[in-house]
Each structure stands twice: as C-alpha cells, then as structure tokens.
C-alpha cells in the first residue's frame, strides 16, 4: 500500500474506534472492546520481549499483578490516586524485572521458559500467603463515587474504553519506535542468533534486560487498569499461570514479532472466547474450553506463524 492510503486507512480506523462507544451505548459491546484493547496491549508488551528479542516468558502475570497490587495498596494505605499508583507499579515492575532477569537470562530456550514459570509460581504463592496484601482473599478497591478523574473509577464504561484504547496505542507506538531503532535491530539479532549477536559486539545481557524492562513496565500499566476496572483483585485473577499463557496465546495467534499481530490475535480470541462461553459455557461441562483447546492445536499446526504470516503470504502472492 502506498503511504498516503495507509495513513488514510489508519485515520479512518482511529475515527471508527473513537466513535464506537458513542454508537454502541450498551455496556456489553463496550466491555468486549475494552477487553480486546487490554489483552492486545498486554500481548503487545509481551511481544517486545518474546517476539522481537526472542525470550519466551511464561511468567508475565507477575508484572500484571505487580501493577494491580501496587496501585491498589497505595490507594488503600495512602489514598494515593491510582494514576500515580499506575506509574509506581510500572516502576516497581521494571525493578522487579531486572532482579528476575539477572538469573533467568542466563538460560535459553525451554530452560528460560520453565524458569519464568517457576518465578511466576513463586510470586503467586507468596502473594496468596501474604496476609497484609489481602492474601488469598484478595483486595477490594475502595469505592469512590465522586466521579473525579483522579479516582480512576467511572460509572460509565465509555471512559474506561478510551483509557484502554490510549494504553493500547501507547504500547503500539513504543513497539513501532523500537522496531525502527537500533535497539530493535539488536533485539532481533539476539532473537535470531544470540552467539552471533554477541560476537558482533552487541551487549546481549544488557539488551535482554532492556527488552524485559519495557515489557514489564507496559504490562504493569495494564494491571492497574484491570484493578480499577474490575475493582477487585486476588492472586488467582491477576497472577495465575493461565493469564501468562493467555497473554502469549493472543500474540501467537496474531503473529509474534509483528506490530499488529497482538491486536489481531486479541480481536479474534476475545470475541471467540465470549461466543463459545455464551453459547456453550453455561452447562458446567467446559465445552467452550474443549473447543478453545482444539482450535489452539489446529492453529499451531496449520499456521505456526499466526494470522499475520497468513496475511503476509497473501500479500506476496498478489504482488
């Protein structure tokens, strides 16, 4: 596509997205869109580390939970606005990611993936047993109905919608910037061949840590958003292994290592999950998950590169 058409298409898409909550005033379609944005944003953040830098983390729920818990605890103890809590959560997640990264980045491939699972399990278990932070019972975010923007709580889903959209655009913008920067080339060099990258003088360990920091910080922003949107958090909802896996799944479905892959993945997976849950979920027989698992297998086999790979192949064929 020529540059002009691309820009026009982007603008039309943005206007449509901005107009969506004005047209659809019911809470449900807005909620679905908000969750698409949230998961797309989390998968985009994960994609920076796994897709571009090639370090497959299966423990990203740790950073999501860090964001959710930091802002919530700050609201409860100090009455600090969640916006500041969001920032604090991101900073804490970045710090935590550097501490975690130091041992786990010595590992490669499956060893790395399993070590991140282990870290995730450790942190989740600690949170379950940490009574001061709510323990297994979780924490309620204190209700504030002043309607003040600072409280980060809204009766109307429309405002959540725009915040989620803004977070997604931020994540996409950062990814775009990285893609075209020297850092992005370094990331991809590390992904393709770590030893070759090191032999060319790329400080591999430092750049892995950098990818981890960016990824963790962005993920934590999503965590705070989730806490303020749902108004209740517990280790089982913000830190489970299943969340870490869902985040990767969204990116894998869309296409890892591509800018739009995570968004495409979320736009398919979230409504799909909703549809199977609504039509098949109520029986208590987990038929929805049965189909879900089957689809994941089929996609992994027939399209391991995700949907973006399919689109790229189509484009190449048409010239």
């Amino acid at each position: 596509m020529p540059r002009g058409t691309k820009l026009a298409a982007g603008l039309v898409a943005l206007v449509l997205l901005l107009a969506f909550p004005v047209i659809f005033t019911l809470p449900y379609p807005r909620d679905v869109m908000i969750r698409i944005f949230l998961y797309a944003m989390l998968a985009t953040a994960w994609n920076v580390l796994a897709g571009y830098c090639g370090q497959i983390s299966l423990g990203h729920a740790v950073f999501f939970g860090t964001g959710a818990y930091t802002s919530t605890i700050l609201v409860k103890t100090l009455g600090l606005t969640p916006w500041a809590g969001m920032l604090a959560g991101a900073v804490l997640a970045v710090g935590l990611s550097q501490v975690i990264g130091y041992p786990v980045f010595r590992l490669r491939g499956h060893y790395f993936a399993i070590a991140t699972i282990a870290v995730g399990e450790i942190v989740q278990t600690l949170m379950i047993n940490w009574d001061w932070a709510g323990g297994a019972r979780g924490l309620f975010i204190p209700i504030d109905r002043t309607g003040s923007l600072l409280a980060f709580q809204f009766r109307d889903k429309q405002i959540y919608y725009y915040i989620a959209l803004a977070l997604l655009l931020l994540a996409l913008w950062i990814t775009r910037r990285i893609e075209r920067s020297r850092t992005g080339y370094y990331f991809r060099a590390i992904r393709e061949d770590q030893d070759a990258a090191a032999s060319l003088g790329i400080p591999v360990a430092r750049y892995k840590q950098r990818a981890m920091a960016l990824s963790a910080g962005l993920t934590a922003l999503g965590g705070t958003f989730y806490a303020q949107y749902i108004l209740f958090i517990d280790p089982e909802s913000v830190m489970p292994l299943s969340l870490s896996i869902l985040i990767c799944l969204v990116a894998v479905l869309g296409g890892v290592g591509t800018l739009w892959g995570p968004l495409v993945g979320a736009a398919i997976l979230v409504p799909l999950g909703e549809a199977t849950r609504i039509y098949l979920g109520g029986t208590g027989k987990a038929i929805d998950l049965l189909i879900y698992g089957f689809l994941i297998m089929v996609i992994s086999v027939i399209q391991p590169g995700g949907i973006m790979a399919l689109a790229q192949r189509g484009r190449r064929r048409t010239g």
Partner: protein, 288 residues
Amino acid sequence: MTAEVLLQGIVSGLLMGLVYALIAAGLSLIFGLMEIVNFAHGEFLMLAMFSTYWAWALWRLDPIVSLPLTAAALFLLGVATYLGLIRWIIGAPMLAQIFATFGLAIFLRSAAQALWGVDFQLVKDPLIQGRISLGGLFIGMPQLAASVGALLAFVFLNWFISRTETGLALQATAQDRQAASLMGINTQRMFALGWGIGSACVGVAGALLTIFFYVFPDVGSSFALLAYVTVALGGFGNVPGTLVAGVVVGLIEALGGLLIAPALKYVAVFLVYLLVVLWRPQGLFGRF
C-alpha cells in the same frame, strides 16, 4: 523439632520424589528425543489416574492389577498424540510447539470435565493400604509401594534404553537424527515409540499415585509443574539425571513444608531450582 520428625520428613520426601522422578522421566525422554516439551504431560497423568479409577469403579480392578492396562492405554495415547499432532509441528518454531501441546492440555482437561465432572474421586479400599512402623518411623504402605514401583519402572526404562537394540536406536535418534536415519533407523517410528514410552511412564506413575491420591480433572497441573522443574533440574533429556532431580525435589518439598511452612513448600522447590540453574544453567547433569 525432633530428629524423628525430621527423619520422617526425609523418608516421605524420598518416597514421593521417586514418583516425581518417574513422571518427569517420560517428559525428559521425549525432550531428549526431539527437543519438544510436552505441556500436556500433567493431563496425561490425569488421564492415567482416571483410567485407573474407572478400572476400579467399573470392574473392581485394583490399581495394582490394572497398572499394565493403564500403561498400555497411555502408550497408545502417546503414539496417537505423536501421529495426530506432534508429527506436524516437528520443524515449527518453538512457540508453535509449546502452544500445540498447551492446546492439547486444555482440550484433554475440559474433555475430562465434560465426561466425568469436577468431583474428586478416590479408589476406596485398595489392596495396598495401612502403614508400617520402623522404630518409631511410620511409612504408608501405598506410598512405599508407589515409590518401589516407580523405582522398578525406572530401572526397567534405563535397561531398555541402554541395553536393548531398540533403546540404542532411540538414543542414536536423540543424538543425531540424520545420522540415525542414514544407519537405517526409521526415525519416525522412533519418535512415535519415544512418545509411547514417555507416556507409558506417566501411565505407571498415575496408576501408582491413584492408590493414595484423589482424582479430578485438574490434578495434573501441580504434578506437571514439578515435573518441568525436575526435568530442567536434572538436565533436559538426561533420564538418569531425572531420577536424582526427582528425589531432590521430593526432599525439598517435604523439608520445606516442615521447616518453613506447608503453604510455601513449592516456593522452596522453585527457589532451589532457580539457585541451581544460576550456578549450572544446564541443570545438574545436563549438557548443552
């Protein structure tokens, strides 16, 4: 804490560790053969346990009696998984491989839930029960039987891999796929066999566990997590290393529960694992 309690902890950890080792051995064998981690391993264990349970519920077959049946059923499941799923993703990127088996895990777990519900089931009144007392030390007979069974299965597995011609062909395939096929080894058949044997290991472990452990669709997940850590701790693809690592995991779990807090026993296991890989990234006995 008295020395007696500590000793009791060590013995229980040792017994459980042998079962963990057998679960992890199957995983390690498959990884060594084709560098694919089966993330549905816990669900295979769950199916083995359900198969043992149903053999008892429907035909009153004791877990020990139905053990060969369960092992055979899991062998077939492993071969079927290879033929139906794994064969198609051999050259695929690591992420696609991870998610193919994750999808299988979700599928199997929900299938079990749809078919058999989420209630906890228990084999009542098994042949092996009770406990023996050794100088003030109590050992549950089911646990003892399970660990002896696991050890026997391990010895058999090791004999098969290192002493039989088929086992050597398996090893050759693991070392160099192309060279093996040049020597006339049918690597596809070896892969299928590896999946069969690896799953049969979990079948034996599942049957042994069912003597004293309850069965439900999600039972595999905690065992699977321990199995991944055990495999990584022992070194991927190193089956004897897995035995040592399994015992280490069992001991840390038991002693962590005793000395720190029962709720934090897995934290102890995972922390020790992280410390070990910080020192030896390839695991205790692995090579890159």
